[in-house]
């Protein structure tokens, strides 16, 4: 009896070794680059990523001041205001789509499910990860994580933890795709069973940290221009993350449907127009709610007297020009089934989100300061580096894993 057992063990181990060899070979095949090297994207992105690495080396050896324009008046600059605060709003699409597909069971959007979750996951890894570049003592980030020092009463504590947990939730949501790619059927089944839990957890975390990012600025009451400061910043951040996410899906989708055309089923191509129209409708409605909210806060705050100077006009540019107008454009585009107008509207909406987040975190922050803050070229290069690296990883994944289509 012992012999048979041993035999079985041997059999298993040989199977395991050959299986492992196959896996290594498979990984090696997959890691190798595919396609042409000298594409326009590569030609632009590779030098920028290399320069970015040099800048980061200087930043970590000589301090933040050596490459950024940050000052005592502007402790948070482009890396926080754009990379983190704006980037996370753009990544809101994942929680909206998981809500619609898994909670409301609207099957129409299932085909964009995987790519949206992937985008969300990568956005959090890279943009929330960009936070690490901005921390003065990034190694001490371990303190609030391992419980060395919990600042429970801090909004930032909540936001930091939610980033971390949400990345895990997003990874669980995306993991069936990885398992499918590696042909690990058992793990795929197991991870798929976890999806609903991860989705519910993920949406809850999203509501809290999208609004939490806004709540950070509640503490800067004396510094943010009264047109932008309101006790409702958290709610505004949450609502605007809905249409920021939807616009990002439309914008990003219209690009990847061109670039990765051959990877997408023809059936999905036709259904895609319907998806865009649906997303645009959602964006139009949430934008109107947001606009209405803004107007209500403006009127109740009796802020009419503030509208006369530069800041008033700048406020109107943001709220009318990049919220209300794209909102109507979305509505018009949906009514006339015009995808062109919808795409333009999505770009305008994204610009509006950038304006809003930068206004609160940088432009209308310390608006009376004698020396204003402008990002240095190094800060912009590092931001581009983060974006390009994300696109590289995204491209690597979608050309290998079954993101756009079911695996054969």
């Amino acid at each position: 009896m012992n012999q048979t057992k041993m035999m079985g063990g041997q059999m298993n181990s040989t199977v395991f070794i050959s299986e492992f060899k196959r896996f290594i070979k498979f990984l090696y095949q997959e890691v190798k680059p595919r396609g042409k090297w000298l594409t326009p994207f590569n030609v632009i992105s590779i030098p920028i990523i290399l320069i970015g690495i040099i800048i980061l080396y200087i930043r970590f050896t000589q301090g933040l001041g050596s490459v950024t324009n940050l000052s005592q008046d502007f402790p948070w600059g482009f890396w926080i205001g754009f990379d983190v605060v704006t980037g996370v709003a753009f990544a809101g699409g994942a929680y909206i789509i998981t809500f619609v597909v898994y909670i409301m069971r609207v099957e129409k959007y299932h085909s964009i499910m995987r790519v949206t979750v992937l985008n969300g996951l990568l956005a959090y890894i890279f943009y929330a990860g960009a936070l690490m570049l901005d921390l003065g003592k990034p190694w001490n980030i371990i303190n609030p994580i391992i419980g060395n020092s919990f600042g429970y009463n801090s909004v930032l504590f909540l936001v930091a933890w939610h980033f971390l947990l949400y990345m895990i939730a997003e990874f669980v949501e995306f993991s069936p795709v990885i398992a499918e790619w590696l042909k690990w059927e058992k793990i795929r089944k197991f991870m798929t069973a976890l999806t609903l839990g991860a989705v519910i957890f993920g949406i809850t975390l999203s509501t809290l940290h999208q609004s939490g990012l806004g709540a950070l600025f509640l503490l800067a009451k004396s510094k943010i221009h009264p047109l932008w400061y309101t006790e409702f910043i958290p709610i505004l951040f949450f609502v605007s993350s809905i249409f920021a996410g939807l616009s990002m899906i439309i914008f990003e989708g219209s690009i990847s449907h061109k670039v990765f055309k051959h990877r997408i089923d023809s059936k999905n191509h036709i259904a895609y127009d319907e998806i865009i129209l649906g997303l645009a409708k959602g964006a139009a409605i949430s934008m109107f709610v947001y606009y209405f909210f803004k107007a209500l806060i403006f009127i109740h705050g009796e802020e009419w007297t503030l509208i006369n100077d530069f800041w008033g006009v700048w406020f109107l540019v943001e709220v009318i020009g990049f919220v209300l107008i794209p909102c109507f454009m979305f509505a018009y585009g949906v009514r006339n089934r015009s995808l062109g107008i919808i795409k333009v509207a999505s770009v305008m909406t994204l610009i509006g989100i950038i304006l809003n987040r930068l206004n609160i975190s940088i432009i209308a922050f310390n608006w009376t300061a004698a020396v204003k803050y402008y990002p240095s070229w190094q800060e912009i290069v590092v931001t581009l580096m983060v974006i390009f690296t994300e696109i590289w990883v995204f491209r690597w994944i979608v050309t290998r894993m079954p993101v756009f289509q079911k695996s054969q």
Binding site: G65, L70, Q72, P75, P144, S154, L158, T207, L208, A220
Partner: protein, 289 residues
Amino acid sequence: MDRRNFFKTTVAVGAALSLKELYAEDIKDKKEFFGVLVDTTRCIGCRSCEITCAEEHDLFVPDVQKDSAFDQVRNTSVKQWSVVNRFETDKGEVFVKRQCMHCWQPACTSACLTNAMYKTKDGPVIWREDKCMGCRFCMVSCPFDIPKFEYHEWNPKIQKCNMCYERLTKGKKPACVEACPTDALMFGMKRDLMEIARHRVYNHPEKYVHKIYGEHEVGGTGWLYLSSAPFEQIGFRTDLGTTPYPEYTKEFLFSVPLVLFGVPALLLGLNLLTERKNESNKNDGWTNE
């Protein structure tokens, strides 16, 4: 439990509760935050406080004879925890010392996610290097713009006045208070300092404006200021309000547990409601069976 027992317990619990409250009040009386009263009418602008502060904390020691520091209004910096500025006001020249106000309920400590900014039991707000991760949220939140960050260090520190916490624990006064030759600075419990400040304002209404800066500002601060000229004219923000800064995020933080439990329940409910698998035949409509 019968009625008699019930009453007994209620009375006992009630008594215990009220006792506990009394006891708590007792303790509060014994433990108070320290503070400093700055009487700007007494300040002659000698900057002894600046020098001794720099010496005490290994910072940049200014050459007060030669530098023309009063030409412009200076801010505290990574090398100066405390600065004295000169202001031309309706009441003539006024010198004002600036440093951390050591708020009763500080914005920076409610911003800090690692408790690196810490309100000690004695009153000083201190910064603890081993906890800080350098996010600079304390700087964003501070209504007085006090924490300063070392942008040109690979391992940066936050620099701000700590009210000489290391001296306080040894039973000594802050260095600046000890160095002041004109008693413009006075160290003590806020309750006592308020008595003295009010006394001066009431007795010399012609000398002081009828206000003690720091009594109510952002919920009260550890450092209190008296002035002959309106506080706007000597570099103070008078539009900060009297709400303690932690209050601004309190509601949001209260809503967090509600959302953490409420939203998943709602989502799960929605998910079950939209279940289509076992949907009955639509043509049947309502049946009573």
